[in-house]
Every structure is written in structure tokens, then in C-alpha cells.
């Protein structure tokens, strides 16, 4: 088997295994898994920028929230049907990511992190400022009756799970395709040595902007799906904490590995889930994980796996 065949089987196998798990797992865990899949899409969007292009953004919550509010406000005030509302969310995320990418990519390194952080903070405050429409921190509920696509009820466990899985599978295959394409390899070249990539004739600025936009729209799709499937949009999802989460998931799972975000999201979700039952200070686990990861396993779980046993992991 060639490496390409192996990675194809891996991606298809992961999706099939996830589909089967719905029928095997007890309802509590399959409900969790639906949430994890949506969040893993967010993490995959983040991974494309951080893991493959080497750009550390501290403001991805802005894209997530753009998708979430694009969908939520369209449904709340303009009575869009779910499909049209998802498209509205994606368009808002697209516009926001083009603007942010265009401005923030003029900076590099630490300045890029701070600029993205500041944009996300401004976005969060804007949501609060227009609290009359967005309901600020309190957020608003998307009514159950609105969350129907044709005959499929997105509020039923099964409809919810398989919609989440569908979105996950689409994004998963897109990422798998991108990282193997010439575009994806050029992104890795930028990550490894930006000057050399420029010298080889790549339009680095344009490639980076494309990476930001794809990453932003993917994060936005996760935000839209989250609001649609779980029926709630709130400003909490635009806070710094939600910019840190995808970083944490990707670092834990393995940056620059296609299955890394999924692994990281599953582990961190259950770590936080179990520890929040014990103590209200559950973010302590996240903090410890971040410090330990930077110290001992900067490549994350899948990264270590690739380094030691499976060098073909995409």
C-alpha cells in the first residue's frame, strides 16, 4: 500500500467508525460526540492555519462567532430557513476572514497574534454593544420549530449526530485533499521557511490570505452548525477563551496532522467534562495541559505517533 492509499483508508475509516459509534455508544456519549464533531471542525479550521501554515492566531473565536451570529441573526430577524441561514453564516465568516486576513497578514510573529486577539476582542465587544439584537452575554435561543431541514429534525439525537458527522466528513476530506495538493505543500513550505518560499517564486502573501480565508470559513461553518444543532447563540463563544480552545485542541491532538484536531478535541472535551464534575475550576486542567504540552510534547498526541510509529500520517 502506498502512503496515499493508507491515508485515504485512514480518513474513510475514521468517518465510518464515527458513524458506527452512534449505534454503539450510550446516548449521553453520542450526544457529546455530536458536539465534539462540530468543535473538531472548528479545530480543523484552526489546524489549517496554525498546523500547516504556521500562523498562530489568537482570534479565531471571531470567525466562529461570525458563523454563529450570521446564522442566528438571519434566522431570528429575517426568518431564513436553516440552509439559507447556514449560507448567511458562511458569507459573514468569509467577509470577516477576508478583512482580518488582509489587515493582520501585514504583520508577522507576535504582532500577528496580538492583532488577531485585538480584532476578536473588538468583535466580542461589538456583539455586546449591539446587545439589543444579539442579547449580549445572555444570548438567544433558536426555536426548535425552526430547526428542521425538510423532514430531518435537527433536534433529535440522530438528526443532530449525522448532520454534525456530515459537516465533519466534508471538512475532513477537504483538509485531507488540501494538505496533499500543491497548495497545501506550499503552505507547509511557508511554515518551514517563508523566505525560501518567497524566493522560489510563491506569492506568499496570497497563499497566506487563502489559508486564513479557508480556515476562517471552516471555523465559521462550525459556529453556524453549533448554533443550528444546539439551538443557542451567545457572546461567550466570541470570548478569548473560545480563541484559546482550538489552539489547545490542536496542540493536544497534534498540529499539522489531519486527525490531530479530532483526537485533541475528544481528549480535552472529556478531560474538562469529568473535571468539571469535581471542581468549578475546570479550566485548571486546560492550563496544566497547555504548560505540560509546551514543555514535553510540543507535537501533540498524533504528532508523537507520527514521529515514533506512523511516519506516513498526513
Amino acid at each position: 500500500m502506498t502512503d496515499i492509499q493508507r491515508s485515504n483508508w485512514l480518513h474513510i475509516g475514521v468517518v465510518i467508525a464515527l458513524a458506527c459509534s452512534f449505534f454503539i455508544l450510550p446516548e449521553y456519549h453520542s450526544g457529546n460526540l455530536a458536539r465534539i464533531l462540530v468543535l473538531a471542525v472548528y479545530a480543523m479550521g484552526y489546524n489549517l492555519l496554525f498546523g500547516y501554515t504556521g500562523l498562530l492566531s489568537l482570534g479565531h473565536a471571531l470567525f466562529f462567532a461570525a458563523g454563529m451570529y450570521g446564522l442566528g441573526l438571519a434566522m431570528q430577524f429575517f426568518d431564513f430557513n436553516p440552509i439559507a441561514a447556514v449560507i448567511a453564516g458562511l458569507i459573514l465568516a468569509l467577509v470577516v476572514s477576508i478583512c482580518v486576513g488582509f489587515l493582520a497578514l501585514r504583520t508577522t510573529g507576535v504582532a500577528f497574534m496580538i492583532v488577531t486577539l485585538m480584532f476578536a476582542q473588538a468583535g466580542y465587544l461589538t456583539i455586546l454593544y449591539f446587545g439589543e439584537y444579539t442579547r449580549g452575554d445572555e444570548g438567544f435561543v433558536i426555536q426548535q420549530a425552526d430547526r428542521m431541514v425538510g423532514m430531518i429534525d435537527l433536534t433529535s439525537p440522530m438528526g443532530r449526530f449525522f448532520t454534525a458527522l456530515l459537516l465533519f466528513a466534508i471538512c475532513f476530506f477537504i483538509v485531507a485533499y488540501i494538505v496533499r495538493s500543491g497548495f497545501g505543500l506550499a503552505l507547509v513550505a511557508i511554515r518551514e521557511n517563508e523566505e525560501r518560499a518567497t524566493m522560489l517564486g510563491y506569492d506568499v502573501m496570497r497563499l497566506k490570505l487563502q489559508a486564513v480565508v479557508i480556515s476562517g470559513v471552516m471555523s465559521g461553518s462550525a459556529g453556524a452548525a453549533y448554533a443550528l444543532l444546539f439551538g443557542y447563540a451567545g457572546a461567550t463563544f466570541a470570548t478569548v477563551q473560545y480563541s484559546i480552545f482550538p489552539l489547545l485542541w490542536v496542540l493536544l491532538g497534534g498540529a499539522g496532522v489531519t486527525i490531530g484536531p479530532l483526537i485533541g478535541t475528544i481528549f480535552m472535551f472529556y478531560l474538562i467534562d469529568y473535571s468539571s464534575a469535581i471542581t468549578p475550576a475546570y479550566m485548571l486542567i486546560a492550563g496544566l495541559a497547555l504548560v505540560l504540552l509546551t514543555l514535553f510534547a510540543p507535537q501533540g498526541l498524533a504528532g508523537e505517533l507520527r514521529r515514533r510509529y506512523l511516519p506516513w500520517l498526513p
Binding site: L56, L58, L103, A104, R106, T107, G109, V110, A111, M113, I114, V115, L117, M118, F119, Q121, A122, L125, T126, L128, Y129, V240, I244, L247, L251, T279, P280, A281, Y282, M283, L284, A286, G287, L288, A289, L290, V291, L292, L293, T294, L295, P298
Partner: protein
């Protein structure tokens, strides 16, 4: 409402914000200037200072002044010590790699914040000010009786708030003397300019870094001790100072100390004045966008020089 007296009040409140902000941002600026480290956990060192001030004041009891003075000495030392230890345990081991430093300090942020939540609890707790007289704000008018001074009803500031401004000026002056006139300052500046050359001349660079990191955190803690009688100690209080310090340090020029003070006064005063007359949320939106734009279009800051 009369515009003049309110403007004076807003400026004084703004000056209090600016004074505390200048100290906190100075800590961040020193750490960035000398170590090239972006310390995301800086706001938590501020919070720790306030929380420790509460513990000290609570344990000592007696007259509030005793607890306050003890806190002013003890809290920065303890916070500085904690910071120096975390520099040794985390930052030094990853060799100050920029990306990993950010991630590591984000981790430290949550560890400090959540351990405080577990020990100190979620309540906001007040610390009593050592003295707290109300001082009415005078205003004048040219009325029928010619020039006269009067005290508009309800407008006042406390003596303690004025003390904050004076204390911050004193501490920052002391810091300036430390940095420019003493051997410690000389060593720090040498490390800043060229750490390898400093090492060649026998400067223990690693120990200097630990001290600088401690000093930066200690400054934030000192600012917090000053402000805690006005604002209560709470485990989430580090968030705003962190963002504002970032804003100040960037506007002032990354690593430029005079720029930091000027920017702190600018941001603190305008924050105070805009918040009184307009919506505080709008003020914050404008400030964050301004910072992003400064970084995008003038990365050396308003006062900084371009590094080659």
C-alpha cells in the same frame, strides 16, 4: 449637568486609571523589552497582587494602614517570586521560543486564575483603604457677585485616589532611577541590547531573565495593591488590565519605556473621560481597533524606533 466640574472629575478618575495602568503596563514592557517575551499571564500577576493584599490585610487585622503597608511590601515580593519560579520552570526550558512562550503563558494564566478560584473563591472581596477622606471638587463662576469659588453638590474624589496617583509617580521614578543610574539597571540594559555579548562579559543572563520576569510581575502586583481599596479583589480581575496593558505597550512602542508611560497616561485619561461621557463599551471597541491598526500600519508603535 455642568461640563467643567464633570470634566475635572473625569480627568481625575482617568488619572487614577492611568497611574495604575502605567505600573502594570511598565511591568509588561520591561519583560518584553529585555526578554522579548510576550507574557499573557501578566494580568494574573496583577490579580494575584490584589488577592494577596486581601489575605495580608485579613490576617493582620487592626488598623487598615498596617495591612495596607504590609501588603504593599509583601505582595509584590511574593508575586515576583512566583513569577521568577515560573520563568525557571517553564519559560527557560523552552528557551523563550516565541510561539511556545505564548502557549505556555496562556497555560500559566489559567493555572494561576483557577488555583485562585479554588483557594480564594469566586467572591469579590474588598480591602479597606488606609485613609479615605472625601474631597469636594471646587469650581468657579463669574456670577452677579463677580468671581467666586463654590463646590458643586455631589462631586468629590477621595484622598486615597489622589494618593494612588502620587504613589505611582514615586514608584515609576524609583524604577527609572533603578534602570538608568544603578549597576542592576546597567546589567539589565546590557542584556537587552545583546544577550550573547552580555553573557561573554560574565552577566548571568538566565538569572537576569528570572529577576526581570519577577520585577515585571511585581510591578503589576504593586499596581494591584494600590487599586484594590478602590476596586475589589476578584479572581477574574486580571483580564482588563492585561488587555489595556497590551494596548498601552503597543501604542507606546514595543519595549520603549518612556513610550509606555506616555501611552498609559493617554489611554488611561481617555478611557476615564470617554467612559464618563460616552459608552464604556464603545470606548473599548475603539481602543482595541486603534491598537490593531497601529500594529498593522505602524508596527514600531507611536514612540518606538524601527529595529533592523
Amino acid at each position: 449637568m455642568e461640563f467643567g466640574p464633570h470634566l475635572i472629575l473625569a480627568s481625575l478618575e482617568g488619572a487614577v486609571i492611568a497611574a495604575v495602568l502605567a505600573m502594570t503596563a511598565m511591568g509588561l514592557s520591561i519583560v518584553f523589552g529585555i526578554m522579548r517575551v510576550v507574557n499573557v499571564a501578566h494580568g494574573e500577576f496583577f490579580m494575584l497582587g490584589a488577592v494577596i493584599a486581601w489575605w495580608v490585610a485579613h490576617l493582620l487585622g487592626g488598623h487598615p494602614a498596617i495591612g495596607f503597608i504590609a501588603a504593599l511590601i509583601f505582595a509584590p515580593l511574593l508575586v515576583g517570586f512566583i513569577a521568577a519560579i515560573s520563568d525557571r520552570l517553564v519559560l527557560q526550558r523552552i528557551d523563550y521560543d516565541p510561539d511556545r512562550t505564548i502557549v505556555g503563558t496562556i497555560g500559566l494564566l489559567y493555572i494561576i486564575q483557577q488555583v485562585t478560584l479554588m483557594t480564594f473563591g469566586p467572591e469579590a472581596r474588598p480591602v479597606e483603604a488606609p485613609f479615605n477622606q472625601r474631597l469636594a471638587i471646587p469650581w468657579f463662576e463669574f456670577g452677579d457677585n463677580g468671581f467666586e469659588i463654590y463646590w458643586p453638590w455631589g462631586l468629590s474624589i477621595t484622598s486615597y485616589k489622589l494618593f494612588i496617583i502620587v504613589a505611582a509617580i514615586a514608584i515609576l521614578t524609583a524604577l527609572w532611577v533603578l534602570m538608568t543610574k544603578t549597576k542592576i539597571g546597567l546589567i539589565m540594559r546590557a542584556t537587552q541590547q545583546d544577550s550573547e555579548m552580555a553573557r561573554a562579559f560574565g552577566v548571568p543572563v538566565k538569572r537576569v531573565y528570572a529577576w526581570v520576569f519577577g520585577l515585571g510581575a511585581g510591578l503589576a502586583a504593586m499596581g494591584a495593591v494600590l487599586v484594590v481599596p478602590v476596586q475589589q479583589a476578584h479572581y477574574l480581575m486580571g483580564h482588563d488590565p492585561l488587555l489595556l496593558s497590551f494596548i498601552v505597550v503597543i501604542i507606546g512602542g514595543l519595549g520603549s519605556l518612556p513610550g509606555t508611560v506616555i501611552a498609559a497616561v493617554l489611554i488611561g485619561m481617555s478611557d476615564g473621560i470617554i467612559s464618563v461621557f460616552f459608552s464604556p463599551t464603545l470606548a473599548k471597541i475603539l481602543a482595541t481597533l486603534l491598537v490593531a491598526m497601529v500594529l498593522v500600519f505602524r508596527p514600531q508603535g507611536l514612540m518606538g524606533k524601527l529595529r533592523s
